[in-house]
Amino acid sequence: MIPAKKQNEETPHSSIPDEWFKPKEKNTEDAESVVRPSLSYWEDAWRRLRQNKLAMSGLIFLILLGVMAVIGPWISPHDVDTQNLPNQNQAPSLTHWFGTDELGRDVFTRTWYGARISLFVGLMAALIDFFIGVAYGGLSGYKGGRTDNIMMRIIEILYGLPYLLVVILLLVVMGPSLLTIIIALTVTGWVGMARIVRGQVLQLKHNEFVMASQSFGAKTKRIIQKNLLPNTMGPIIVQMTLTVPTAIFAEAFLSFLGLGIQSPFASWGMMANDALGVILSGDWWRLFFPAFFISATMFAFNVLGDGLQDALDPKLRR
């Protein structure tokens, strides 16, 4: 604190004014005030997420994609399934911004229509997984003992089932449609969520606040809903964010195999599959737009999930 030049003087100590050694007056008013505003868990997580540029660009991309999925087909002058045979396989131009396909359908409109399908399938799968997984995992972890044992045996067997094979089998039987895809994806998809919730609940359930709730006579449902779940929201949100790209991939994969969304509706997987047929003719826009948007959407969800994991993980909190 002493300015540096003072040290060169002959008697540095004498230059220190005496008032520096007087005790400071005690401040009784500000003693209790906190220097920084206290941040809640979510504010803190949001602050950390905002610093992660990659995750934020993913989030912004997804918001833009969501907006375009809603208004995209609407601002385009062309219909999603109107065929215009004289206009087939046209390169991107002012009338057809992303070009046209072999039936003369507008790729721009179909791309945003595909975005609707992909986002809807992804979000619905994540949401349904959330409800089943949380209920199952929460109950299994909280009840413990024999109930937990039986419930976990069932999960272990379901976990051993090859995911996409079961989905393919179900779609062959139920027939391809948007609804059956979502059903097929969630039949075994919730298992991962249930395992995570159970693990968290096992760690939390012996805490005092749960005991306090129990001693007030709270029912199981209330304890899981009000005491346990709010404390496991971090890992749950991360898992949901990472479920979405898995579901989007599965939908595109199935549509690519011809088991997904059927024409005249558009899905990115189906558009990529159609583009495979014209790959030799050099119509690059047919493949580029669906391929770019599938990859970019999965990339955005993956980096957002990674960012959320870092932001929400209590182990990394200081």
Binding site: L164, L165, L169, F249
Partner: protein
């Protein structure tokens, strides 16, 4: 150990049984019999056909016969290709698919581990950044998209590699790259995070204090332990590669099992779908079983007889 293996084995049998049962009853929900479409056969022929395939028996009897056919590994005839049986398709397609799958796993493992180790050693450096960018991209680009892009750029535009079929080593490059990139990315990320954790352990400091060479520390002390998580996900990766072969074989016109499976789906050839699904599932479950046991042998820290809390 023996108890653990036995328990895993029972799980494996139960899982295969459930898949087989599920497949059987789901397929029976479908309306119509395999022999009553398009061509009109006369009543007697129809009845003889049904008798031949035991379709006139009660469902329970059919179910038992079906289970028996699975145990004896006889998956029955193909409906759409009368000269073929599911077994003959499997016999022809499976070796090719296995070749594709083994190369894919090998290349994904080697390149993924290498990428992950280098990234961890140069933590927060340029190599780390590049490796992790490749990894996130690899996870995000679906294999069928990558395959079509590779064909478009390398085979059609540049003409350096053949675009389809499975006849020479050059033909194998693009399908294997398309299929291996995803697993490679997952392995690289996992290796990196596990390596970073291992490198901070006391025994690594100890090894360094003893004056061992960095190469020896990394390979013998760090990598050996860091690879444990990679072993655990091998089963899941294998499932991904296996389902990946469906589209990759379709795109590259490789006459493997996946191609017959996809054709079966498109032609609604139910015995082929049933047979290959059960075969694939049994194969995968067997692999998961082997991975579980390998993990138990490799990692002495996990207590095999006790159920973990997590």
């Amino acid at each position: 150990m023996a108890k653990y293996i036995l328990k895993r084995f029972i799980y494996m049998i139960v899982t295969v049984f459930i898949i087989a049962t599920l497949t059987f009853f789901l397929m029976n929900l479908l309306p119509g019999s395999p022999f009553n479409e398009e061509r009109t056969t006369n009543e007697a022929v129809q009845r003889n056909l049904e008798a031949h395939y035991h379709l006139d028996e009660p469902l329970v009897v059919q179910y038992v016969l079906y289970l028996k056919s699975i145990v004896t590994l006889d998956f029955g005839p193909s409906i759409k290709q009368p000269t073929e049986t599911v077994n003959s398709l499997l016999g022809r397609g499976f070796p090719i698919s296995a070749e594709l799958g083994i190369w894919t796993i090998l290349i994904a493992l080697i390149s993924g581990v290498a990428l992950g180790v280098f990234a961890a050693l140069k933590h927060n450096g340029v190599i780390d950044y590049i490796a992790m960018t490749i990894a996130v991209l690899g996870i995000s680009i679906p294999n069928f998209v990558l395959a079509t892009l590779l064909i478009q750029q390398l085979a059609v535009n540049l003409g350096v590699l053949p675009a389809a079929t499975w006849s020479s080593p050059q033909h194998m490059v693009l399908p294997i790259v398309a299929l291996a990139t995803g697993p490679m990315a997952i392995i690289a990320r996992l290796t990196r995070s596990s390596m970073l954790e291992t490198l901070t352990q006391d025994y690594i400091k100890m090894a360094r204090a003893k004056g061992l060479s960095p190469a020896k520390i990394i390979v013998k002390h760090a990598l050996k332990n860091a690879l444990m998580p990679v072993v655990t996900i091998l089963g899941t990766l294998l499932a991904g590669v296996l389902t990946g072969t469906f589209v990759i074989e379709k795109i590259f016109a490789i006459p493997g099992m996946g191609k017959y499976f996809v054709e079966g789906i498109n032609q609604r050839d139910y015995p082929v779908i049933m047979g290959t699904t059960v075969f694939y599932s049994a194969f995968l479950v067997l692999m998961l079983f082997l991975v579980d046991i390998a993990y138990g042998i490799l990692d002495p820290r996990i207590k095999l007889h006790k159920e973990g809390g997590k």
